[in-house]
């Protein structure tokens, strides 16, 4: 079978061009993109959504997600949007997206209600968990982490993407699946750059698209496969879906969009092939598995302690703030929070070793109350993305029974693997697009949301910022006009996209991805310095000049993969530029420079925002608190929304 050649089952439309126009163009059909499209369509704008995969199940939450963070306006919440958004900002030493977090805290629950109205499941309507400590029996809403303050909700995320697709169809959104967006189109109006649409390609037929739009929303996830790549199983190289590799970042950077914090990356934590296990598929007590009972190799239970080191006696205490603490933060980007926000956690690994606990550790749900066991294994593991089939069904078929078996942890503590310092990922609120209070980029007419925003977080963040960006883009489109694009820009993009189809015996995309990843591990790993970074940039530039023209492929699918790797190369260069521009080390950014070891000097406690202009990298310094007072600034700009929501 290995050499079996098949007939290409789709039409061949290479060289064909279609021009489509709309008011609002949304690039990316994950949660953020779908909500952006819905918001714009609700405002009466014509909308085209472009998705490389199939919208029904595409994106990081395509097959589900299990908990919705920061839904501070739900009827059971004991916290305000200000409290939680400000806590995130403080927790992340202000390298945080205050604007986006506030939108998430303020509007997230509205999006949950939207999803419910589209047919998604957000409450325990079947009374499976009636009477459980994490359930409000009146509203049937269910909570995770902090059962006292009730601002993180357990949801049935596997029902969400099909529901969003149905709603977009109902609203008349044009959804173009199997279409990759590849480049932004811009024009200069009165001396100022303005987004006028994008180019793209049908990844089945090769047809070239020009999308003309008054407003464009970038919703194309975050970069991946920059440091980690396995040519044998590239689909398992990262935490996010295989095709979400940062094309939105690459096209933004090429168009002159401004980025920040791209120097931030963390030692990998999750999901890379071979180094790890399926996400949420090992014994642990974080996120989906919070707060599973953990035991060591002998079956001795590992104690949970509160922030003061007080040992907790009951399972319920793991879900409550400490004495004198208003609330605690857990999940998503929150790994090891400051004392003020620290929640219950198992004893530190080193302390466990001192006390004689023995590896391997396991999650043992059999020791938990029935409803806690059932909600972790069956609901959370089942509704979180990539768990319904890969974990819940597969492990059950292999004989796993949470009342009789315990699931092993790997590495030290609760990680699913041990990664090396140079094996890095964009994880834990990484860098991305810098934006204003409209989620508009530095280029008029171009908006961003979800994982494309700097310091982005989870699914609720994606839904809330997607909707917000969509409505702001729609307002601008309603007041604007369709601007012309430069035919020469489109022609050049078409030529770039097709070039690998005409190369014979050249370089395959995997070879280039492998080389980029190795270069980034060698030149942009855990410890960086100017000379090393410049050598790395030089090597990547040589790939651009010498290897990219030799890229070759044989059909539109492989052409799409080839375009992706070109985008990875662009992102890798952006990361090196960002690393060169920060001439100090930084603890919150996990950024170390051997030539500038001083951590976080006051003069560099700011965003070092970068964009390209005529091939030059331009730096702008932006105060970390540029967003101002969250509540005041939000309310200044969203009175219409506040009135509309109040009327519902």
């Amino acid at each position: 079978m290995n050499d079996q050649t098949f007939h290409w089952p789709y039409a061949n439309e290479v060289g064909m061009e279609e021009i489509k126009s709309c008011d609002v163009l949304v690039l990316g059909g994950g949660l953020a993109g779908c909500f952006a499209a819905i918001a714009a369509a609700r405002k009466g704008q014509s909308v085209i959504l472009v998705e490389k995969g199939a919208t029904e199940r595409s994106g990081s939450a395509g097959t589900g997600f299990d908990h919705w963070e920061s839904a501070c306006t739900n009827p059971c919440s004991q916290v305000t949007p200000e409290e939680i958004a400000e806590a995130y900002v403080n927790e992340q030493d202000w390298y945080s997206n205050g604007i986006a977090h506030y939108i998430e805290c303020r509007e997230g629950y509205d999006r949950m209600l939207d999803l419910e109205s589209f047919g998604g499941k957000i409450r325990d309507t079947d009374d499976e968990f009636a009477g459980a400590a994490f359930r409000d029996d009146k509203t049937k809403l269910m909570f995770a982490y902090d059962y006292k303050n009730k601002f993180t909700l357990r949801v049935w995320g596997s029902t969400f993407k099909p529901a969003l697709v149905r709603e977009m169809k109902r609203l008349g959104v044009t959804v173009l699946d199997r279409t990759e967006a590849t480049a932004l189109l811009t024009a200069v109006v009165d001396g100022k750059k303005h987004g006028v649409g994008a180019c793209g390609m049908d990844v089945h037929t090769g047809k070239f698209y020009v999308f003309r739009a008054k407003s464009t929303v970038l919703a194309m996830s975050r970069p991946a496969r920059v440091w980690l790549f396995d040519a044998d199983q590239p689909g398992l190289c990262e935490f996010r879906p295989f095709q979400s590799i940062g094309s939105g970042h690459a096209m933004g950077w090429k168009a002159g969009v401004e980025f920040t914090m791209m120097e931030k990356s963390v030692r990998a934590e999750y999901s890379a092939a071979g180094r790890s296990f399926p996400a949420y598929g090992t014994g642990n007590n974080h996120n989906t598995w919070y707060a599973a009972t953990m035991v060591d190799a002998r079956g001795v239970e590992i104690p949970y302690v509160d922030r003061d080191g007080r040992e907790l006696k009951t399972v319920l205490e793991r879900y409550l703030p400490a004495e004198g603490q208003k609330f605690f933060l857990k999940g998503g980007v929150i790994d090891n929070p400051k004392y003020e926000y620290r929640g219950p956690e198992t004893l530190d690994f080193d302390e466990l070793v001192r006390r004689g606990y023995q590896l391997p550790f396991y999650a043992d749900l059999s020791r938990m109350p029935d409803e806690e066991r059932r909600v972790i294994w069956g609901m959370m593991v089942g509704e979180e993305g990539k768990t319904k089939i890969p974990i819940l069904q597969n492990y059950s078929e292999r004989g796993f029974d949470p009342s009789r078996h315990m699931l092993q942890s790997y590495g030290t503590g609760w990680q699913s693997a041990n990664f090396l310092e140079q094996e890095r990922q964009f994880f834990g609120a990484p860098g991305g697009i810098l934006h204003d209070w409209d989620l508009k980029t530095n280029i008029d007419g171009i908006y961003a949301c979800g994982d494309q925003l700097y310091a982005s977080d989870c699914a609720g963040f994606a839904c809330a910022t997607g909707y917000y960006a969509g409505r702001k883009a729609a307002d601008a489109a309603a007041a604007g006009q369709l601007l012309d694009y430069d035919r020469e820009d489109a022609r050049r993009e078409m030529e770039r996209l097709y070039a690998p189809l005409y190369v014979e015996q050249g370089t395959g995309w995997k070879e280039l991805n492998q080389a980029i990843a190795k270069a980034m591990q060698n030149y942009c790993g855990g410890m960086r310095c100017e000379a090393l970074l410049k050598e790395g940039l030089d090597l990547l530039e040589s790939y651009e000049k010498e290897i990219v023209p030799t890229l070759c492929c044989r059909n539109p699918h492989e052409l799409m993969r080839t375009h992706e790797v070109q985008d990875i190369l662009t992102v890798a260069k952006l990361v090196i530029h960002a690393s060169l521009h920060r001439t100090s080390s930084s603890a919150p950014l996990f950024f170390r420079r051997s030539d500038y070891p001083q951590p976080d000097p006051e003069c560099d406690r700011c965003h070092i925002a970068l964009h390209q202009e005529n091939g030059q990298v331009i730096e702008r310094r932006v105060p970390l608190n540029f967003f101002g007072n969250l509540k005041e600034e939000y309310e200044k700009r969203n009175q219409n929304y506040i009135r509309e929501e109040a009327a519902l």
Binding site: R57, S58, P241, F242, F277, P278, V295, M406
Partner: protein, 92 residues
């Protein structure tokens, strides 16, 4: 633009992420339509299952299994090295 002919050859990898039960599959191609990584090539033969053309690109999300109208027609199988271990509970 010079005409170009497409070619597609199966690109094998060291694992088999997606396994079809030929007796159960009805060849509806729902799995191919929903796969976000687009690794499945719809079968040219009516009633036959799609071809797993790019198995190494599988992201193991399970969308294909979720979309399948026939229970058990598709099975998702993790690479051997990625199968986590579990053991009977131990009491201390």
């Amino acid at each position: 633009m010079k005409p170009v002919e497409f070619q597609v050859t199966m690109t094998p990898c060291s694992s088999q992420p997606i396994l079809y039960d030929e007796a159960k599959c009805i060849g509806c191609n729902r799995c191919a339509a929903v796969c976000q990584c687009d690794i499945l090539l719809p079968s040219a033969e009516t009633g036959k299952h799609p071809v797993v053309m790019y198995p190494g690109e599988c992201y193991y999300c399970g969308a294909c299994v979720m979309a399948c109208p026939v229970e058990g027609a598709i099975r998702l199988s993790h690479p051997l090295r990625n199968r986590a271990k579990f053991v009977p509970v131990r009491s201390n």
